[in-house]
């Protein structure tokens, strides 16, 4: 009986541990500096293109700081892909050491 409880407890512990590891690995937040974002009328395209990218969960584009803060599922999309998406909108995702969380 004692042994059964121990096995069950270990199984539950392992399940919780794996679930936590999975959850922490999935959502990632990156701040990408975007060059050329000076026109208030046209920055909406960056947000639109990022939001339409599979795996992207949340986007905030800050015109004053010239950056895009993106939350994404890192199993579905990479930061390199996000940079490609930004570049395709005519702006330039600056290559610098990414500030990731």
């Amino acid at each position: 009986m004692k042994r059964k409880s121990l096995v069950l407890g270990t199984a539950v512990f392992l399940m919780i541990a794996f679930t936590s590891i999975g959850a922490s690995a999935i959502t990632r937040k990156s701040t990408i500096r975007v060059d050329g974002m000076t026109c208030k009328m046209c920055t909406g395209s960056v947000e639109k293109a990022l939001k339409a990218t599979p795996g992207v969960e949340k986007v905030e584009v800050n015109l004053e700081r010239k950056e895009a803060v993106v939350e994404y599922d890192d199993e579905k999309v990479t930061e390199a892909k996000l940079r490609e998406v930004i570049n395709a909108t005519g702006f330039k995702a600056v290559e610098e050491k990414p500030k990731s969380e």
Binding site: M41, C42, S45, V46, A49, T89, G90, F91
Partner: protein, 158 residues
């Protein structure tokens, strides 16, 4: 008497509906960069994409290549792209850009009034989708994404 009033009300309602229909921007007339005038009505029967853009707008410039390709690939299926510069720009600058980008559709010089025929929004780029009947079907703010073309515009083509 009641019957007469009812008919009058009905006629008034019909007139309002008709007025609403007539207010659609089929009367758009613009001068292109060669100085020739063209009208939206010239393209009746086609699916028209009126793309508002500016040479200084990065996403507008990035989008032009896709629009040129769309015009080339879907012309025979009834697609017609029209470029309208907004806000007003220097003609020489627009001409230079159009030549360099090998734009294969008419480009007109727009004003605030031109844009207001369709929308109050100041977003750039902006694409107005006009159906074969001349009515506005959609207003796409920002760059026209491939999925938007596939889902909204392609089904309208022949």
């Amino acid at each position: 008497m009641v019957k007469k009033i009812s008919i009058a009300v009905l006629l008034l309602f019909a007139a309002i509906v008709t007025l609403g229909q007539d207010s659609r921007p089929t009367q758009l007339k613009l001068r292109d960069i060669q100085g020739r005038y063209f009208r939206l009505n010239d393209y009746r029967g086609k699916v028209v994409l009126i793309n508002f853009w500016a040479t200084w707008c990065p996403p507008c410039r990035a989008e032009i290549g896709d629009l040129v390709k769309m015009q080339h690939d879907y012309r025979k299926r009834g697609l017609q792209v029209i470029g309208v510069t907004y806000p007003p720009q220097k003609l020489a600058e627009v001409r230079r850009f159009v030549r360099r980008a090998r734009v294969n559709y008419p480009v007109g010089l727009g004003t605030k009034e031109t844009k207001r025929l369709f929308t109050q929004s100041e977003t750039l780029p902006m694409t107005i989708v006009i159906g074969t009947d001349g009515r506005i079907r959609d207003i796409i703010e920002g760059i026209l994404l491939p999925d938007e073309f596939e889902q909204m515009i392609k089904p309208m083509l022949k």
